[in-house]
């Protein structure tokens, strides 16, 4: 059952590609005398991190920070992006700030943020927010900009205006972009979690730092794999929602 399901979702080429990579990792690791820990060691380390409970604290903390920061980024980024997409005036005013901050390295702002917000939850959530919000806003902006003006004309002709036009035409027409924005934003938010935690030796960051200190590369890579799985899982869920609710956009 689960096998057939997996087959449906993963193309044979993808399975072969991932399989080849894992094999190369394993063989390469063993051939270099564990300079790169083989994948089996990393998998073992991941299991023992869970078994010892060492992973649970960082995971719970990370998910909280991720969830709060990501929600804040969506709550701000979507309306800002929608306004920039719908109105030239909003695009001209907000656009400048968003564009400047978009190209600014968020990481370089971290020392400043620590001074401002300390190292508590507020700091983490701010970093995650800053990592995700501009990508969310700009993706939504482009989505709204790309809505066929003919659809808006049709909406108006058949009686939609103002808020109704937004709800009945603009939003559904931008839905594929909105979901894409969430996906991009989520992946950025995961990066934000890690960068913030690395800076102040918290959560996954403190795990990574201590494994580095004791040269436990297998365990460090296990943490990396854990983070990768988190990003892949989240964006996969959003992609499934795209297929489910915005499948018409792909046609």
């Amino acid at each position: 059952m689960s096998v057939s399901r997996r087959r449906r979702e993963l193309s044979p080429a993808a399975v072969v590609g991932v399989g080849a990579l894992l094999l190369a990792w394993e063989v390469g690791g063993r051939a270099t005398g564990n300079a790169l820990p083989p994948v089996s060691d990393v998998a073992g380390a991941l299991v023992s991190l869970y078994a010892s409970g060492a992973m649970l604290g960082p995971l719970a903390g990370g998910l909280t920070r991720l969830g709060l920061g990501f929600l804040a980024a969506v709550a701000v980024g979507v309306p800002v992006g929608a306004a920039m997409g719908a109105s030239d005036a909003a695009d001209a005013t907000l656009g400048t700030y968003v564009a400047v901050l978009f190209v600014t390295s968020v990481s370089s702002l971290l020392p400043f943020l620590i001074l401002l917000a300390g190292t508590g939850l507020g700091f983490h959530v701010s970093v995650v927010f800053l990592f995700a919000v501009f990508h969310v806003a700009l993706t939504v902006r482009d989505g709204v900009r790309s809505v066929d003006p003919g659809l808006l004309r049709a909406g108006r002709v058949f009686g939609a205006d103002g808020a109704t036009l937004v709800r009945q035409v603009l939003l559904p027409a931008s839905l594929p972009f909105l979901l894409a924005a969430l996906r991009v934003g989520f992946v950025r938010a995961v990066k934000g979690v890690v960068v913030a935690e690395l800076w102040i030796y918290a959560g996954f960051g403190s795990l990574l730092r201590s494994f580095q200190q004791f040269s436990r590369t297998d365990a460090a890579l296990a943490v990396v794999v854990q983070l990768m799985l988190l990003a892949v899982l989240g964006s996969g869920l959003i992609r499934a929602a795209e297929r489910r609710y915005a499948g018409w956009g792909a046609r």
Binding site: G150, R153, V157, F158, G159, A160, Q168, V169, P172
Partner: protein, 253 residues
């Protein structure tokens, strides 16, 4: 039902230097009349239609429907667009029901009226399909059904068959005539196809450079369902005349 009138209609766009799309156009369309507007691209014919749809505000003059100046879109007027403009996230039935939803028609009545219109355009079996799965011809039928569903007094058609292949176009013209001959809705129909203009219209208005250049009465007997009309001497004579007029306004037809 309603009559239409254009009174010294002027529309100037000022996107990077002002462009005059309409330079004082006046004409009348009687209640129930089928009037076709032809002209080369840039002649202002789409702007004219948009003014009656309430999508474009005239710079001067007025577009009148039933004697009242048009102020924005309204359920008395429905538009069929060249590129269909169906909502891709809605099924055919939901597209047809869009206008009825905005009018506050209850759900079961909406469904019934939408299905009736879909049946009329021969798409009863496709009510649950999404536009992306329909052919161009089918999509435009949904577009026509969506317009007819609101039971408009005036049907505004902007090159509705322009994006279809020749065969589909011929079929859809016939079907439109059938429907119109039964309904008697006032129709303002924009096209650049002379044959189409003569096959469909009671009258053909020729637009060139934002001005009304000529108005040709088309006296062919109705119903005009048959194909032979295009081969008659009167038809060819009318076609020659229209071509000459259009050549005068820069159409290389």
């Amino acid at each position: 039902m309603a009559d239409l009138a254009a009174r010294d209609l002027v529309k100037t766009y000022d996107a990077g230097g002002s462009v005059r799309a309409l330079e004082g156009v006046s004409f009348d369309v009687a209640d129930g009349e089928f009037v076709v507007v032809v002209g080369p691209s840039g002649s202002g014919k789409s702007t004219l239609l948009s003014a009656f749809a309430g999508l474009v505000e005239p710079t001067a003059g007025a577009a009148l429907v039933g004697g009242e100046p048009v102020e924005g879109p309204g359920p008395d007027r429905a538009v069929v667009f060249q590129s269909f403009e169906l909502f891709p996230w809605r099924t055919a039935r939901e597209n047809v029901a869009f206008g009825l939803e905005r009018m506050g028609v209850p759900a079961d009545e909406r469904r019934e009226r939408a299905d009736r219109q879909l049946e009329r355009v021969g798409l009863a079996d496709h009510a649950d399909r999404y536009p992306g799965t329909l052919s161009g011809g089918q999509q435009q039928r949904v577009g026509l059904a969506r317009a007819l569903a609101v039971d408009p007094d005036v049907l505004l058609m902007d090159e509705p068959f322009g994006a279809l292949d020749a065969r589909t176009r011929a079929t859809q013209r016939r079907e439109l005539l059938h429907i119109w001959e039964r309904e008697g809705t006032t129709v303002l129909f924009v096209t650049h196809d002379i044959d189409e203009a003569l096959l469909l219209g009671d009258r053909v208005l020729v637009l060139g450079g934002g001005r009304l250049v000529d108005s040709v009465d088309v006296g062919f007997e109705r119903p005009r369902g048959g194909r032979d009309l295009e081969l008659t001497d009167e038809f060819l004579a009318a076609k020659r005349r229209l071509r000459e007029v259009l050549r005068g306004v820069g159409e290389s037809a």
